[in-house]
Subunit: 162 residues, 2 copies
Amino acid sequence: MNTAGVLSSPARRQALAERYEAPELPPLDPELLHLLDLPADLPDELSIAEVASVTGLTAHTLRYYERIGLVEVARDANGYRLYDREALARVVFVTRLRLSDMPITTVSHYIDLVNQGPQTEPERLAVMQEHRAMIQRRISEMTAALALTEYKITTYGGTCAP
Amino acid sequence: MNTAGVLSSPARRQALAERYEAPELPPLDPELLHLLDLPADLPDELSIAEVASVTGLTAHTLRYYERIGLVEVARDANGYRLYDREALARVVFVTRLRLSDMPITTVSHYIDLVNQGPQTEPERLAVMQEHRAMIQRRISEMTAALALTEYKITTYGGTCAP
DNA sequence: ACTTGCGTTAGAGCGCACTCTAACCCGTAG
DNA sequence: CTACGGGTTAGAGTGCGCTCTAACGCAAGT
């Protein structure tokens, strides 16, 4: 069994950090895409700092997600959080939904549905279908905005006219 | 010269609304895309309610944009706002940048640069180039999220695993 | 023994972008 | 005359999603 000491050993954290640490670019959003291919050879149980490293979220945010019921996390003998594979998977899943601007209330609702069992599958499907529509709308807005921006760039300088 | 009475005549507002009114769908975002092809035959001066109709913003938001210096708007004899073509163009421009998630501070900075004259063109270009990069990042995030969502939809129900 | 560094909690605070309120003004319709 | 439907202002309030603070616990190093 892991103790808090082992989990937070500098060597281990170092190793994790070297392999998986989020590039600490500008704020939170940008390169979080690296989440989309998390390696499969992570330890079975991670400390909060390690999950933070791997996901790019802060420990504060991870605690917040647990507080509002997005994920359940086990504790060790000292009361420290131990993220197992399932908990990590949840966090990653939530992060991906958040990255596509799904409101936290909706994420929360979806997770409640999953927790309620398989009879909620039709509703989950509906949630995802609605979310897909939203993403598609957002992508076309962004594409239009990209066109405007390209136009401003190629015409240089540019005014405030649309 | 237009009086407030004429500007806010129900008939005129009705006519504008019929032709241009924003579809009042869910919240603000969704179909604001119709902004991307504003008709060219609008009156020369619009009241705040008319600009609200045409752009889909609320009058509150339009006043807010003026307050924080995103646009200057003339007044009639009664102190009512009169949006001329230039003011409308600004509002539309700001709205498009906002739709692509440019923070208001950045919009504001860009507009300050425009107001400062042509010698700021290089910096404006830089702002737009950075914005383009952000949009591209956002589009690829959304595309990845779309793929995840499609996957969840096709595999039906779905768990919270990533 | 004490400092360092990680963790814990409850709860307060913050930044953003609106959004709304209260009190008031003006012109037309009934 | 008065009610109504527009407009005005300064300034307060809201909802979201974190983000931080304060006070504390444990254990390993010097």
